[in-house]
């Protein structure tokens, strides 16, 4: 475990991370991992985080060395999409049994599993994930992977991020370390060019990167590697020859971006494809970096033309929603980059932001939110389920945008809700994606079910109805009016 704890320390020593740099020497040494409270913890483990980052690599066989639960309870559960290979959606695990553990057969079973996968599926690489139990019993997956690599002549990459090591975020970082140690730079591309870029931290959820890639294609920019969304192993292995990089998901892969800059001189910037001006800014930053690295400066002008054109189309489409959405109150309950990326465009068409969580946001993220929101009382670290439920059931927001974890708090409070995390059904990146997001908000808020489900049952609504029957001739009609009147408003 000593090499693992060194890795963890290294992963948290992140000069490119503002949060980290803002601390004194001592707390910085302790790293970012907060200890969890038993009985009051939520969220995934380090293994979960590593798997999230690496699983979307589509032609790799992902083999989880563990008893059943780690893989059996979690496979094929995320919305990343592939344009080709499907092997990444096939689940592989050594499914260790009691006998395997007692007899110490873990390493042997792992080696055999690698051989079976190689023979049946012939993938370009196999990623082997260690987990709590296999770390505890001391299975040396690095040695097994090394031996398998030699014997079978394919890349067998150890991913050393057992769940007990820490949080999902740590797992993200450890996955990046594994790519740096074993994958990136192992293949020399035969066609490097001045317009080659990497996109880091883009997961291609619901295929949303395909809303952006055509824009890059139009500008003549080639995505050498998008890590990890819709990636191929060889793309990542040769990613070190890109000229510039964009880092999309701020906390997950910043160390990867920074270390690639150090090792291979690939400059990067942090940007987002959520929101209209953010998408434009990302395109501008990308071409600027490319020009700085020797690309023809004429691309700058072409980029501006494309941006102007695309923005005009998007704003025009969004304008048609203004009337329907003006003054609607949105609660954003998601971390990181999404909080500030979408805020601007939503406000532009008259939507009010009544709150945004900043739990996973960096200092930089928070600054950006402050700028767009004007006052920071709308920012909250995190909200307990009970509070959130209270806020929503008192109708202090017209819709909540969040991840699946808080979905049922909104729905049980009979409040419109839209998934903007990994299980979402719709692509939201780029210009068209922003329009899609607004369209989905509109559909959610204006769905006719809300007035129906908020209506109490008529017999709960008017208990005295029968006791106060008016004795007029036209009593049925009167009653009906009364009834309709009462049910039309909430009682």
């Amino acid at each position: 475990m000593s090499s693992l704890s060194a890795k963890i320390k290294d992963a948290f020593d992140e000069p490119a991370c503002d949060k980290n740099r803002g601390k004194d020497a001592k707390p910085r040494k302790e790293g970012c991992s907060k200890s969890l409270t038993p009985g009051a913890a939520a969220g995934g483990c380090a293994f979960d985080g590593a798997k999230i980052v690496l699983q979307p690599i589509t032609d790799v066989a992902h083999l989880v060395h563990a008893p059943l639960a780690c893989e059996g309870n979690s496979w094929d559960n995320r919305g990343a999409v592939s344009s080709g290979p499907t092997l990444w959606r096939t689940s592989f695990t050594t499914d260790l049994t009691e006998l395997d553990l007692v007899m110490g057969q873990g390493e042997r079973k792992l080696f055999k599993a690698i051989r079976e996968i190689k023979h049946t599926y012939a993938p370009p690489a196999i990623f082997v994930y260690s987990t709590c139990v296999t770390a505890l019993i001391g299975d040396d997956i690095e040695a097994v992977c090394k031996r398998a690599t030699e014997k079978f002549g394919l890349a067998v990459v150890p991913i050393n991020a057992p769940g007990l090591a820490g949080s999902k975020n740590l797992g993200n970082k450890l996955a990046a370390e594994a790519l740096l140690d074993h994958v990136i730079g192992t293949v020399e591309p035969d066609d490097p060019g001045p317009y080659d870029i990497n996109i880091l931290g883009e997961f291609n959820l619901s295929g949303e990167f395909w809303l952006v890639k055509p824009l890059l294609d139009r500008l003549g920019i080639r995505v050498r590697a998008c890590i990890p969304g819709d990636a191929r192993y060889r793309d990542i292995a040769s990613a070190h020859r890109a000229r510039a990089a964009m880092m999309v998901c701020s906390t997950a892969l910043i160390s990867l971006a920074r270390k690639m800059e150090e090792r291979w001189d690939i400059p990067f910037f942090e940007g987002s494809f959520y929101g209209i001006s953010d998408t434009s800014q990302a395109l501008r930053n990308l071409v600027r970096l490319l020009v700085r690295k020797g690309a023809d400066p004429e691309i700058l002008e072409r980029t501006e033309t494309l941006i102007a054109q695309q923005e005009a189309i998007a704003w025009k489409k969004l304008e048609s929603y203004r009337q329907r959405l003006q003054g609607k109150r949105v609660l954003l309950n998601t971390g990181g980059v999404k909080s500030w990326s979408v805020v601007h465009a939503l406000m532009e068409i008259g939507i009010e932001i009544v709150g945004t969580s900043v739990k996973k946001s960096t200092v930089q993220d928070k600054e950006r939110i402050k700028q767009v929101l004007k006052h920071d009382k709308h920012m909250f670290e995190s909200m307990a389920a009970r509070e959130l439920y209270a806020m929503l059931s008192e109708h202090r927001a017209d819709i909540m945008l969040s991840g699946g974890r808080t979905q049922f708090i909104a729905l049980k409070a009979k409040t419109p809700w839209l998934d903007i995390n990994q299980e979402r059904q719709h692509p939201y990146a780029g210009y068209d994606g922003m329009v899609e997001l607004v369209r989905q908000i509109d559909l959610a808020i204006h769905n006719p079910i809300w007035s129906q489900v908020r209506q109490p049952a008529p017999w709960d609504c008017q208990p005295d109805l029968i006791g106060e029957l008016p004795c007029t001739r036209n009593e049925t009609a009167y009653l009906f009016d009364e009834f309709a009147c009462a049910t039309a408003h909430e009682c």
């Binding site: 695990t93 553990l101 505890l136 090591a165």
Partner: protein
């Protein structure tokens, strides 16, 4: 008698299993005011939670002792104590159901001793909250075992022991985990229609049926009450459903002397007949007219439906009792069980499955055994195999995350069997292939095409 084929691969491909602690948590979720607690690292809980939410589309109470590296090396008793305390203070549950995971069991921790100490030390603080332990390492068993272990643990930990005065109309029912919310609801109606008073443990129809409460509740709301578990010993008779419920039924018998009857399945005409006869004899009441009517409806559904079942090849992958339930259903309507895959070799029911062999394995095994089948029957993860093999998939069991309402689908007793016949027959009708001259050509290569198409020339 089916031959049991053990797993010989080293790499499980597309797991069929969900883990044992998940099964135990599932059972605890059928108790009112319950909070299941995984004793392990937080990922164990997170994965199970996400899977539950995807299946039920509900907020699911599930917590973790959040073991880290230090706890893994030095012992996690403190984490367990802290977790129990935090839960007691924050959510005031009536039951904390501790489910161990592979991590804590591989350490070899004495969780029963730890819990006994915690209870002893804090008798007053923990008043009003039962703490029950199910030993459920992930490296053993699957959902059924976990479920049965949790139910056994609740009976052994909560039910008052000793022979008690019996309530002549009270029936204890221990449903297996393959029963849906709709199954449990329907069974209760059936039992009540005989004037009997059923106590169902666990009762997911009260807690996981998708109601909208008027306030935020952190624990389960609805389900078997802890008080009812305590008083199980006053039942006249216990009915267990599914072979995996034999152990809890035996525990109840040993503890209180309440005799049990075990039904391996409640799907199909004959099993339902036995069940209804038993209710009639316990209650001394005649079978109500509407039950008789349901039976007639099932007879009619069998007559109308059997055309679609005869000679069909069915490939099923499910937990042992569910495999038995479905395999006997299909075989009972004239289909052939072409592939039977299950999670564990521990269950005695497997040899009774009407198939030549039962493979202990995963969905990778199902995919290779199901070539040439007419229907795949398994949970949602079978979708990849279904796409690749171009064979329709009937989703059953856990998890079903890409279809709505699986918990409200009925599959037991007269009515459920009737519905199941219609569902399957409709899948076949929707996937019918019109005959082509090539397929019917008498001079075709029969060996190959015999494999591919069974009707109308099968058996020639």
């Amino acid at each position: 008698m089916a031959r049991i084929l053990l797993q010989s691969k080293s790499a499980a491909v597309n797991p069929l299993k969900s883990s044992q602690p998940l099964g135990a948590a599932f059972a605890f979720l059928g108790v009112d005011g319950a909070m299941p607690l995984f004793h392990g690292s937080q990922g164990c809980t997170s994965f199970a939670l996400v899977l539950f939410v995807r299946h039920f589309k509900e907020a699911i109470p599930l917590q973790t002792t959040a073991m880290d590296e230090v706890a893994t090396i030095l012992g996690a008793a403190d984490h367990l104590e802290e977790a129990i305390f935090n839960l007691k203070n924050r959510t005031k549950p009536k039951l904390i159901g501790v489910c161990t995971t592979a991590l804590v069991e591989t350490r070899g921790e004495d969780c029963a001793g730890d819990i006994a100490n915690i209870k002893l030390k804090h008798t007053q603080e923990l008043a009003g909250t039962e703490v029950v332990l199910a030993n459920t390492p992930d490296f053993d068993g699957a959902i059924e075992e976990g479920w049965a272990r949790a139910v056994t643990a609740m009976i052994e930990g909560i039910t008052r022991s000793g022979e008690r005065a019996r309530h002549p109309k009270k029936i204890a029912i221990l449903p297996g985990c393959n029963l849906t919310v709709a199954d449990v609801e329907h069974m209760r109606d059936m039992v009540e229609s005989f004037g009997l008073k059923p106590v169902i443990l666990p009762d997911i129809s009260g807690s996981l049926d998708g109601t909208v409460p008027d306030r935020w509740v952190a624990t389960t709301y609805g389900g078997t009450s802890v008080e009812d578990i305590r008083e199980l010993g006053t039942a006249m008779q216990c009915i267990a459903i599914g072979e995996h419920m034999r152990r809890p039924a035996k525990a109840l018998l040993g503890l209180t002397g309440v005799p049990y009857v075990l039904f391996q399945s409640l799907t199909g005409l004959q099993d339902t007949d036995r069940f209804v006869s038993l209710l009639s004899s316990i209650s001394g009441a005649a079978v109500p007219a509407r039950v008789r009517r349901r039976r007639a409806q099932l007879q009619d559904a069998m007559l109308d439906g059997h055309f679609h079942f005869g000679g069909k090849k069915i490939a099923i992958a499910a937990e042992p009792d569910q495999l038995f339930q479905l395999a006997t259903f299909f075989a009972g309507l004239g289909s052939e069980i072409a592939a039977a895959v299950t999670t564990t070799d521990r269950s005695k029911i497997l040899e009774k499955v009407p198939a030549v062999s039962v493979q202990i394995g995963d969905l990778g095994d199902l995919e290779s055994l199901a070539v040439g089948a007419d229907l795949l029957v398994t949970h949602s993860h079978g979708r990849q195999a279904s796409e690749r093999l171009r064979i329709p998939l009937m989703r059953i069991g856990f998890p079903v995350f890409d279809r709505l309402g699986s918990q409200h689908k009925l599959a037991i007793l007269y009515q459920g069997t009737r519905d199941l016949i219609f569902e399957v027959a409709n899948i076949f009708q929707a996937n019918q292939h019109a005959p082509t001259p090539e397929a019917l050509d008498p001079l075709r290569n029969r060996e190959i095409s015999h494999e591919r198409c069974s009707p109308p020339l099968a058996g020639q």
